[in-house]
Structure formats: structure tokens, C-alpha cells
Symmetry: C2
Amino acid sequence: MASVDFDLDEWSAAHLVQVEQALQRWIDPEAPAGLGQAMRYAALDGGKRLRPLLVLAASEAAGGNPQAGLRAACAVELIHAYSLVHDDMPCMDNDVLRRGKPTVHVQFGQAQALLAGDALQALAFELLAPDDGSVSANITARLCRLLARAAGYHGMAGGQAIDLASVGCALTQAQLQTMHRLKTGALLQASVMLGAACADLVENEHATTALAEYGAALGLAFQVVDDILDVTADSATLGKTAGKDVAHDKPTYVALLGLDPAQQYAQALLAQALRALDSSGLPDTRSLKALADKVVNREK
Amino acid sequence: MASVDFDLDEWSAAHLVQVEQALQRWIDPEAPAGLGQAMRYAALDGGKRLRPLLVLAASEAAGGNPQAGLRAACAVELIHAYSLVHDDMPCMDNDVLRRGKPTVHVQFGQAQALLAGDALQALAFELLAPDDGSVSANITARLCRLLARAAGYHGMAGGQAIDLASVGCALTQAQLQTMHRLKTGALLQASVMLGAACADLVENEHATTALAEYGAALGLAFQVVDDILDVTADSATLGKTAGKDVAHDKPTYVALLGLDPAQQYAQALLAQALRALDSSGLPDTRSLKALADKVVNREK
């Protein structure tokens, strides 16, 4: 799907180095009583970094402030990282393996894991509000608003609450969609909107709407593919426990639609995301297109 | 200590009504899957509301934007409320009683308590960044910076990590002071600075420094008095389990200094806080003075 003249791997590698270095610099290893170490364990060297890449791609497409883009990219990754730490805890999913490593509570104890998650969330907002003049107050205010909404009870945390309440329940497609729109979709869509908010696109309603549509379709596609991989991939490939949705009797798109229709649905969402970009009027959306393609056609 | 022409009870009652109504309005009971209810249980109708009162008193003393003041007051209370929810969980203090009611995890289960705490933190930042034009981007950016730092690993969360690591350890007064400066002091001092940040006092370095001194002394005094009350009051008066510091072998000012010297130390900190206000150059600091007096001479 991506244009032949765009190399996503090269683009991603260059941008991931920036994100990794920034996270290394911004998560202080000297934070009190081992807390900084637990936070670094949770957030460094791990994962696909899809959310920060979406922020950076959207910021570049919209002509955003690069400093703001990098901070927003790291902030959304910290929110994602904290949610995994808390999600893995015994009172939630009770997972012991994440990205091929022991989960944070296994490594550092539950109390430290709880605190590390809490502190990662606070740090995300701290990153958005530097006092060195590199990010304007207007941008900081927009980023803070978007991230807080996406992370909170009408976003990610709300989706997790629905997830908790839905174990063992038969959900309709509409209910499943609501859960995922909040649980994973809100932060993925917010990643795109955070990138856009680094520019003064706010005035350009047309482009903003198109990016929101792209982000919504991508967020949903991500979850559909996640559900597919939970049944088609093994733990070694995933770097986390495969088949756990089935084991936990969680509702999934595969359970609801069947495997083939779920795969067709993911492709339809990809097409929808790409159409939204084409209608955005933005001059260069190649990285955003390639990321959508990667999300839907990924193998882990 | 408070001027005879100032009635703190009357002032507090009027301001607490505003805070309570705003929290009622801003914590949506309809949030998904009972999450809003758990958040409201954690944050409404409870506690002394010292932090929001400090925000409002400082904002009024500094001539702040009242809408920003009310939002910052509620935000800091949400951070405080979330920290209590997580602190009470079995993997932390394992407390079953808070403000005379079952703690959130007892009432709603651990998973919901974890999520409610997480969502309360996100909501705090959401409150600081309204999109209705009532708070300028400059103020939002300053509030977000102050609150994130005070809540995070170089503030409250860092202090909790030290607290965790220090159970059963003999701390020096300097170490105990560092722990409390972070664990409770950072958020109390930030309450004062959040209020100041609602005005354009930033230019007035003298007043800002004086308010920071006041906030630091008050934050420390609060903890010294807390330690004193843990041994002198009973559970019914406190609305929480008395004597738990001793039971958990936690280091306290009373254990370190003895009861009488701890009481003298609290009075010295009060005098220091009041002197800072006198040197601030602000025209009316009566509510801040009366709050400091109340903190040190409180009975629960």
C-alpha cells in the first residue's frame, strides 16, 4: 500500500533512535528508592513504539514543532507503558511475561509496579510542559487536553473498566467496538491528534477531521489484528502469552466474526484509513500510510 | 494566630461548597462500567480538603483567575484522592478503613480501585486544560507543569517509593525529612504554587519565593502533626486506623524526636510559614495564615 518511494523501515529506525534517546534522557535513573529503575525497565527498549511513531508521522505531515512532537511521542509511550504495568498486575490480567521479559511486578514487586505506573503517567504530562521555551503554551495546553482525555475514563481507563466487566460475557459487535474504541483506540487515535496538535492545524478543520478518521480506523484495525494474532501466532513470536484471550474467556473479534471475516474487516479498515489521508489535503502522508499498512499486515 | 477579623470556618465553608459542587459536576457518574462511581466514591464527600483550600487561598491572595483556581483546586484533590486509593491497596498499606468508610478496593475490588486511581490522575490533568476558553494556555501550561512534577517521581510518587523502602529502617532526621518533603510536602507546596500560578505572579519573584517558603514549611508541619496525631488520637477521631505507623514499624517524627520536641518543631514550622507570608508583599494573606494555623493546631 505504501508508495514505492518510501522506506518505512528506514524512516522508523531513524525516528525510533530519537525516541529511545529522549526516553533515556527523560526517565531519570536516579529517581528515589529504585523507582526510576522500575520506570526505565517498563518503558525503555521495548515494544513496537507504534504510538510515538504515529505522533511523529502526524506531526511531520502537519508541519509541527519537532520538539513538541518528540515530547508528545514520548508522553504517549509513557501512558502506554504505565497501562501495561498496571494491566499485568495480579489483580488485573496477572501476566508474568511481557516483551519476552518478566513483567514489572514480577521483577520489582507489586507495590513498586503500582508506583512506577503512577509515576510514568505523571511524567507523561510533565514532558508536555517543559519550562525551557521549546514548546509554546498553546501547544502544551492542546497536548495536555488530548492526552488526558485519551488516557482517562472516557478513553483508555474507561475501556479497561469495560474489559474487566465483560470477561465471560457475550458482547455484540457494537459493544466490543465501544470497548476497544476506548481501551486501545483512544490512545492510538490520540497519537495522531497529538502529532497534529504540534502544528497550528487547529484552524484547518478539514485536515484535522481527516486525521481523526484515519486515527479511528487505525485504532480499530489494530485491535482486530491483535485478536487475530492471539489465535494465529505463538508466544515466542508475540513476546507475550498467546491465546490468553481465549484462556480468559475474553470477547474478541475472532470469536465474534470468525477468523476470515475478521481478516477482511481489518483490510476494510485499512482502506478506510488510507482514503481519509487522501482526502486530508496534506502534502505528504506517506509515513502515516505506511504505518497503517504495517499495523494491519503485521505478524506480531 | 489568624487575625481576629477573619473567620476561617466561614471562609472554608463557602469555598468547600464550590469545590464539592465542581467535583460533583466534573466526575462523570456515567463513566463506563462503574468506573465513574468508584471515582466518585474515592473523591466526593471526604476529607479535610486542605489542598484545594490552599489552592484557592493562594489564588485569591495572588489575584488569580477564579476559574483556573477552582480547576486547580479540584485537580490537586483528585491527585490526592488517587494516591489514597492506591496507597490503601493490599500490595501497599492494605488499609480497609478511610474517612470512616470501607476503602475503594474493599468496596469495588482491587482491579476497579487500580483503574479508578489511574483515571483520577488523568482527570486531574484534564481539568487543567479546558477547551472553553476559561483558562488561558499560559495558565494551563504552568498548572500542568507544577502538578505533574509534584505528583511524579521527584514528588509524591518518589516519596512513596522511599516510604516503601524505609519500613523497618532507622532513618536520620534528614532522610525522614526528604521522604516527607516528597511524599506529602510536594503536593501541599504545589497546592500553594498552583494557586499562585493562576495569577500572573510569575513576574513577581519575591512573592513567588515567599509562597514557596510558606508551602514548604506548611508541608513539613503537616507531616509532623500527622505523626503526632497517629500516637495521640484514636481511630474514631481520625476516621482512619490510628497507631498504624507504630504497628507497621514506620519511621516517624515522634519516634525520632520524642512527642514534646515534635510538638515544638511543628510550632516552629508554623512561625516560619507565617513569617514567609509577612515578607511576601501580598496585600491579604489572612486565609493562608489561618490555614497554616489550622494545620498545625488540628486535632485530626
